[in-house]
């Protein structure tokens, strides 16, 4: 029973979307995202962002996420928008299936911590974000 539960958990975790960074950080500012994993695999993402900086991400599961929605717990700290990225992405498991990328842009508005929640038909992911003040 425990083994079956473990297998089910691994399968569910493996099916959740993967987020990838699609834009560089500007000079002297912070914009990076890292995976936070435990024994069961990827749990969530952590991101460090400077105020005034934007970072683009794509969502795949493994083809571009379907019906993606994005919400910031505190839009005064982090604003999040859907993005129109005119790039086709192939499903690595499908021979002919390719779809337009599912993308989002995260913007650091004010120093603080909050969470951005990415939901889609293919599963959900949280990004725990720390916004740091930009040097004056």
């Amino acid at each position: 029973m425990k083994l079956a539960l473990l297998a089910l958990t691994l399968v569910v975790a493996a099916c959740n979307p993967i987020l990838s960074v699609e834009s560089p950080a500007p000079p002297g500012r912070s914009a990076r995202m890292d995976e936070v994993k435990n024994f069961w695999g990827l749990q969530y993402y952590r991101m460090e962002l400077s105020t005034g900086v934007a970072l683009a991400l794509t969502c795949t599961a493994p083809s571009p996420c379907e019906h993606m929605k994005v919400v910031s717990d505190d839009p005064a700290i982090v604003e999040v928008r859907l993005a129109s990225l005119g790039v086709l992405q192939k499903n690595p498991w499908g021979q002919s299936s390719q779809q337009t990328s599912a993308a989002l842009v995260v913007v650091g508005k004010a120093a603080g911590r909050t969470t951005v929640r990415v939901t889609s038909k293919d599963g959900d992911r949280d990004i725990h974000i720390t916004v740091i003040p930009s040097p004056s």
Binding site: R29, A54, R81, L82, V107
Partner: protein, 204 residues
């Protein structure tokens, strides 16, 4: 092919490589202060951007600009207005708020003003003009050795307005100097405490 792309790539490409942001300048206007979109914008200056999109299978949709940090760089009408030193992402969005691209832009304080002829040739010494002759002068804004972008509301003064008249020429920052009567004058261009000046002698 790449050479042709290089010739046309005179603006700043967005982080998602879908748009190019450039200043609104005539192609033969060497002194246009809006020509430098890759440079930081001077504090207090306005920059009028032009955005071109390169989207596969689509012409450019209706686009809007939004600033990530409006205390650093604000969007006011069709201009970006530099408020204080720093950096801000400028989001290029469609009408429904979907982000097509973004560019990180910098704002820097002005440390020096230089003066140049309209062809870009920098004025470093005294100038002589015959009565009736014109000279168009364009100021350039600098942060140390770096040329800044944007148009600032500079104050122009002449120590002898009877000898040399300062006229507007349709641009916010450029001025046309017209020699009226023989004499010597000093033209000063100032933005706050930062000043530049040239001595002009009008000859009969």
């Amino acid at each position: 092919m790449w050479f042709l792309l290089g010739l046309s790539a005179c603006g700043t490409a967005g982080a998602l490589h879908q748009t190019t942001l450039m200043g609104q300048c005539a192609t033969d206007d060497a002194a246009c202060s809006r020509r430098h979109p890759v440079a930081p914008i001077a504090v207090g200056a306005r920059f009028h951007p032009e955005v071109e999109a390169d989207l596969a299978g689509s012409t450019t949709p209706n686009l809007r600009l939004e600033s990530a940090a409006s205390d650093v760089l604000a969007v006011e009408g069709d201009a970006l207005v530099a408020k204080k030193a720093g950096a801000s992402a400028v989001l290029i969005t469609t009408d429904d708020g979907s982000v097509v691209d973004f560019v990180h832009m910098w704002v820097a304080p002005i440390t020096t003003i230089s003066l140049a002829r309209r062809d870009g040739d920098r004025l470093t010494g005294d100038v002589g003009l015959a009565v009736g002759e014109d000279l168009v002068i364009a100021p350039a804004l600098w942060h140390d050795a770096q040329r800044l972008a944007g148009e600032a509301d500079l104050a122009w003064t002449s120590s002898n307005p009877a000898a040399l008249e300062i006229m507007r020429d349709g641009s916010t920052d450029r001025r046309r100097l017209r020699a009226r009567t023989p004499g010597k004058t000093t033209i000063t261009v100032a933005l706050g405490e930062t000043k530049a000046s040239i001595d002009v002698e009008v000859l009969p």
